[in-house]
Structure formats: C-alpha cells, structure tokens
C-alpha cells in the first residue's frame, strides 16, 4: 500500500486531524484563489463604496440602474469605511496566519534550543532558564504585550513587527515541554546504547532525540501558533495593531469601535467573526489530532 493510502487510512481513524487539515486546505485554497480575484486596495479604506450589503450586482448611487457601468459584485458586502469584505477575508486570513506562523516558528525554535541547552547542560544555566520561564508564565502575556506595543506606538508596528513582538512571549511553553521531554528521553535505553556506542553529543541530539521529539515539536508549533494568533487578535482588537492593515483583529477593532452592529451592518462583523471562529476551531482540531498522534495513551482512551 502506498504511503498516501496509509496517511488517508490514518486520517479516517483520526477524525479531528482530518477535519482540521480539511479546514486548513480550504483556507489555503480560499486565500490563494481569492487573492487572484481580489485587488489589493479593495481591502483598504475607500477601496470600495462604503456600507454596501452583500449583493451580486451593485450599482453606484449616481447610476442606480447600471446604465453606463457594469454592476459589481460584493458577495460579502463592504464595511463602513469602504473596504470590500471579501478582500478583507482573503487578505486578513493570510495576514493573521502570517503573524501566527512567524511568532509560532520563532517561539518553537527558541524554545527547542533553550529547552535542549537547559536539559543537557544543567547547572546555573538550567536554573536561570527555569526561573525565567516560571516568572514569565505567571505574567499575563497579553498585558505585557500591551505595555510593549503601546510604548512602541501604532505608527511603527507593521505585520512583521507585530509577529516579532508576540514572539517575545511565545517561547516559554515550548521551552518547558522540550526540556522535560529531553530530560526523560535522555535516560531511555536507546540513548544509553547510542552513548555506549560512542556517538557524539550532537549526533545523539540529531539522530536519536529530534526524530522522537517531532510529534511534540509539531504539537508545540500548533500551540504556539494558536497563542500567537490569539495574542495578535487581542492586541489588534484593543487598538494596538497595524490599524490600516486589513488583518482580522484590526477588523474586529473597527467593528467594536464603529458600532457596526448598531448601524445594522451585520456583514461587517459576521465576516471576521466567522473567519476567526473557523481559524481557532481548525487549530484546536489539529492540535487534538496531533496529541493523539504524539500520545498513544490518549488514543486508547477513546
């Protein structure tokens, strides 16, 4: 049986992972196909007529019967500041995932390095790392990010900058997990054997430990990305994001700030809400699925 079939058969057993990856594929298709049809400026203020309800044929006010112009389609409507919500959904999903991925990858990489170093070298370094993780995990991350982002000022924050700020607080979780995993794996018989065979330290790390840690790294990445997306949305919704960019968090900020619902513009709120909910459900399902993959004991309990 081919490898592809094996994966398919595993996905049939692991429903959460299958549905989660399904939503991921949907989002990838949606953003990549969508970006072919959507003009970049349509996602920015005044890129489209303001406050248009979802419609297939919109005619401008000066030409209500569309006699001289082609009717335009705004299937998701436009917001009160003239953004095409379809463009916002397409670009916002991508921008939000970009922040999440950037911060998540940096967090997991830093966490892996620190976790390994902490578990392998021990001593003062280990104590220092453990204290830092303990202290930083106690502090509510969103509030620290609020202090940082608010003193940087909104003009200087770009999408990448946002990712980097969030990455500052994304490494503690992975560090802790990797450290404890390495500590327990280090004593396993196969590592002992490798050591007795005269394998070098880096060799053991690369050839014995990393492959066994991969499921944990995967689960850690999903967790970091979830945390980063959550943090970026939170900061943006508080008004500390790149307020001109059509990211999902910023859109929610404008929905709250401009009373979209009170003005009856339900589609303005519905688009970011549904997209955000889908993103979080997707991340949750993937992480549950990966947990099952990494932790066969969970599998047995089903």
């Amino acid at each position: 049986m081919s490898r592809f079939h094996l994966i398919l058969r595993y996905l049939k057993r692991n429903t959460p992972l299958a549905i989660g990856l399904g939503i991921l594929v949907f989002f990838i298709l949606f953003t990549s196909i969508g970006s072919l049809f959507v003009e970049t400026e349509a996602g920015y203020p005044l890129g489209a007529p303001a406050s248009v309800a979802p419609t297939m044929n919109y005619c401008p006010r000066i030409d209500p019967e569309c006699e001289t112009t082609e009717p335009e389609a705004y299937i998701f409507g436009t917001d009160g500041q003239g953004r095409d919500m379809l463009a916002v959904a397409v670009q916002g999903t991508w921008l939000t995932m970009r922040i999440g991925l950037l911060a998540g990858v940096i967090g997991v990489l830093t966490g892996t390095i620190l976790g390994f170093a902490s578990a392998f070298y021990g001593g003062t370094f280990d104590v220092l790392i453990r204290w830092m993780v303990d202290v930083l995990l106690t502090v509510p991350g969103l509030l620290v990010l609020v202090v940082i982002a608010s003193s940087l000022g909104d003009q200087t924050i770009s999408i990448t900058g946002m990712g980097l700020i969030i990455a500052l607080l994304a490494w503690m979780g992975p560090t802790r997990t990797i450290r404890s995993q390495v500590l327990s794996m280090r004593e396993r018989p196969y590592v002992m054997m490798a050591r007795l065979n005269g394998m070098s330290g880096p060799g053991i790390i690369m050839r014995e430990l990393i492959p066994n840690l991969l499921p944990y790294l995967g689960a850690g990445l999903v967790a970091s990305v979830t945390g980063a997306v959550f943090a970026s949305m939170g900061l943006a919704a508080l008004g500390l994001g790149p307020l001109r960019e059509p990211s999902l968090g910023v859109t929610i900020y404008w929905v709250i700030n401009q009373n979209a619902f009170l003005r009856g513009l339900w589609w303005w709120g519905a688009v970011p809400i549904i997209t955000v909910a889908l993103i979080f459900v997707m991340l949750f399902l993937i992480s549950v699925g990966l947990d099952e993959l990494a932790n066969p004991r969970v599998r047995r309990s089903e």
Partner: protein, 336 residues
C-alpha cells in the same frame, strides 16, 4: 509540616522576583522606545485649540521637571521602585485628579464579580458535563453534546460575545447591549439597581461560561475515562453498588482532583479577567479601563493596571501553592 522552609523561601523569592520584574519592565520598556508620553499627551491637548502655543517646549520641560523625568536614570528608577512598593501608582493623565490606584480600585470589583461567578459556573457545569459524557450509563444525548461544547471552547470568548450581542441584544432585544448598568442610572444600594446590574452582566457572563466550558469538560472527560479503568471501579461494580453511587462517590470524586487544581489556577487569573469581553460589552471593569487608557494615551494607568494584575496573580499563586499541600496529602514538596 508538609513543606520545608526551603520551599517556602524559594517560593517567596519567586514572588518577589515576579513583582520586581513586572515593575522593572514597566519602567524600562517605555524608556527604551522613542516615545515620550508626556510630550505626546501635552501636544495632543495643545493642538486641540488648533495651533501649538508659543513656549510649548518650555511647558514640556517644566512638566518633566515636575514629574522628575530630568533626573539621572538610576535615580528615577529608585524613586519609581519605592513608589511602586508603597502602592503609589501615580496619577492618571486623562482623568487628572484621580490616582491610578483609585481608577483601578473602581474597576476591580466589576471584573472580580463577573469573572469569579462565571469561572465557578463554567467549572461546575463543565465538570458535570464531562463526567456524564464519559459515563456509559448516561443518556446518549450527552455524547452528542461533545462536539458543540468543544467547539465553543476553542473559540475566544470575545468572538462568542460579539455574536451574542448581535442576536440576543440587537436583533431580539432581550438583554441590554452593554455597560454595567443603564445610562442615567445612579449607582446605589437598592434592589432595582442590583437587578439592573444583574441584567447587564448576563450576556458577558454567558459568553464567558460558553467559552470556558470546553476546557473543563475535556479535562473531566479525560480523567473519568482513566478512573473508569481503575480496579476499584470494577470491584465496585462487581459488588453490585448502585450506579449513582459508583458515579459520584467512586468516579467523580476521584477524577475531580486535577479539576480542582485547575480551578485554583483559573481563580488566580480572574483579576486579569477577560479584557476583550469587557471591551466588547463596555463592561466597567479592568479591561474596559485598559482599552480606554490605550485610546487616551494614558500611560500611567496602562502600566498601573499591568502592575496591579501581575502582583495580584503572583500573590494568589503563592497562596495557592502554600494551601495546596494541605488539601492534597499526596503532594509533597522537597522531600527530605
């Protein structure tokens, strides 16, 4: 004594380090950035009249002197630290005569009231649901609840809150759309006022409970599944114990412990509340105060809120760590 002096000492030092780092962070991060909050705020006020009055820079300088901002950095740091530890968080720029401590003190009861209630409700409901979901003899309807509850748990509370506002408050007009009490109501100790506060807190509470439920349910379900595999459960069943007795006294009771630990952790985070849910509803708690201060560039309030919350969480966690070994005899720190 279940814990050694060394453990208490280590834990106490950790608490001090947490408070110290929060204060230091608050002091240095703004200094590292090119922003000058005082100047920005004065500029914002000055340009309101349409032009920058002559002598603006002198005004900034005199304010800086008044706030001690022209002293050497180490001296500023020392003053700041002694202020922080004596509870002097400074004054608000936007609501000038009010101190930061006053503003935070006004907002704190709202946040604690809302979050304490919803955390406990979510805990009780979630634990109960989770236990029933994994109980073979429970009505099968509970098993169909699983996906719904879990999906609500994955979605952030403020997203649920926005949806609830649209349907319940705006479309069906069942509950007020936001705020802590009606506009024009004067807070007093009457029953009508209490009822109004209750009505206004229902929607935020619903959003928080719905999003908090999932975590408790998953945790309890997992533990119940483990417990059901234990020998004493099989033995109890073989002995012919009544089903409810097996469920409550043997199953739920033993599966509860990790949940209680989780509750202790969750309770220590209630001060930080759910900033965004409060913001969405305009609920007069810490979160709304924070959002307003960010909009008004009221830096001292922002830093004050962060500091108060960090200290509160640090102290609660410290107390929890001290109480916990007394509750669960199996936990032993620092075996000697």
């Amino acid at each position: 004594m279940r814990y050694s002096f060394k453990f208490v000492a280590r834990r106490f030092v950790l608490l001090l380090v947490i408070i110290w780092s929060a204060a230091t962070l608050n002091f240095f991060i703004p200094k590292l950035t090119p922003r000058n909050p005082l100047r920005e705020k004065l500029l914002q006020e000055a340009t309101r009249s349409g032009y920058i009055p002559p002598g603006f820079e002198e005004m900034v300088a005199s304010y800086e002197e008044r706030f001690g901002l022209n002293a050497p950095l180490w001296q500023q740091y020392a003053t700041y630290m002694s202020d922080m530890f004596s509870g002097n968080l400074g004054v608000s720029i936007a609501n000038f005569p009010k101190t930061v401590a006053q503003l935070v003190g006004e907002a704190l009861p709202w946040t604690i009231g809302l979050l304490l209630t919803t955390t406990i409700i979510a805990f009780v409901l979630g634990t109960f649901l989770g236990a029933l979901m994994s109980w073979p003899k429970a009505p099968s309807a509970f098993r169909y609840l699983v996906p719904g509850v879990l999906i609500f748990g994955a979605v952030p509370a403020y997203v649920i809150a926005l949806t609830l506002i649209y349907f319940v408050a705006f479309q069906w007009k069942l509950l007020p759309i936001g705020g802590g009490y009606g506009i024009g109501t004067v807070p007093d100790m009457s029953v009508t006022f209490a009822l109004e506060v209750f009505k206004h807190s229902l929607l935020p509470a619903l959003a928080l409970v719905l999003s908090g439920l999932g975590g408790w349910t998953i945790g309890m379900r997992g533990m119940m599944v483990t417990v059901q595999g234990e020998d004493y459960m099989t033995f109890g069943e073989a002995k012919g114990l009544k089903s409810w007795r097996l469920f409550y006294k043997y199953g739920v009771r033993n599966a509860m412990l990790p949940q209680v630990t989780g509750l202790a952790l969750a309770l220590s985070f209630i001060v930080s509340g759910s900033v965004l849910v409060e913001l969405v509803f305009g609920y007069p708690g810490i979160g709304t105060l924070l959002a307003r201060s960010i909009n008004q560039l009221d830096y001292f309030v922002i830093y004050g809120i962060v500091f108060v919350i960090v200290v509160a969480i640090g102290i609660t966690l410290f107390v929890m760590d001290m109480i916990y070994p007394l509750l669960d005899p199996r936990i032993q720190y620092e075996r000697d």
